[in-house]
């Protein structure tokens, strides 16, 4: 089993496709992107992380907008201008509707001392409803999976293959 990890993934380097030069735009960005190769089956997993902000806990619904976007559409490709002064050619190509992520996780901080206390039931229920995985982490750096992710029904296999074929264009994000 092999895996690659990428951090804070947004825009890729340019790559060639269909005799043109493109780049990927991933928006919203992906906090951790995992590409897992297991038994010749490649799975792509996105992790959206919400932490404390100035020691304030995020609301239970924090990050659900991003995970929904990751499940709906993962990236756009943008044709690069052959003439750098001509910005009019920078139009989004909407050919790839659909997601490349087989699974999406949301990660929240948990401020209780023990996981048995004060579990964020609302977020867990929302995650189950949406089919996303839900992880909580406490200040002792213990992790618990409260909801298991379901396979994303909105994966576009062509888009996923294009991403995998050009994964080196994200080299700067690899960790």
């Amino acid at each position: 089993m092999e895996a690659k990890f990428f951090e804070k993934v947004s825009r890729s380097r340019e790559f060639e496709y269909d005799n043109k030069i493109y780049c990927f735009y991933i928006s919203p960005d992906v906090d951790i992107l995992e590409v897992r190769n297991s038994s010749n089956e490649v799975k792509i997993i996105a992790y959206e992380i919400k932490g404390l902000n100035y020691l304030n806990r995020p609301p239970y619904y924090a990050g659900f907008d991003q995970v929904l976007a990751h499940m709906y559409i993962s990236f756009k490709i943008k044709e690069s201008p052959t003439n750098k002064t001509d910005s009019s050619i920078l139009t989004y190509n909407t050919k790839f509707r659909g997601s490349i992520f087989d699974y999406v996780y949301l990660v929240h901080p948990y401020t209780g001392l023990e996981f048995e206390e004060e579990i964020n039931k609302e977020a867990k229920s929302m995650a189950e409803l949406m089919g996303v995985g839900y992880l909580i982490i406490n200040s002792k750096r213990r992790l618990k999976e409260l909801a298991k992710p379901k396979i994303n029904p909105n994966v576009n296999s062509e888009a996923k293959q294009l991403f995998l074929d050009n994964i080196d264009s994200f080299k700067t994000y690899e960790r």
């Binding site: 895996a3 951790i32 992380i49 932490g51 404390l52 902000n53 020691l55 001392l113 982490i137 406490n138």
Partner: protein, 43 residues
Amino acid sequence: MRGRRKKELIKKLGEPELEYLEEERIRKWLLEKLKCKYGSKVF
């Protein structure tokens, strides 16, 4: 979570402990955990 609740939390867990739960630190930590634990059950 502001005011009194925030103070109670800082008193309960301590400010340095809570700082572990900032987004960037969670991300860095989770990334390393995923990399290190890979191949076995992660969670």
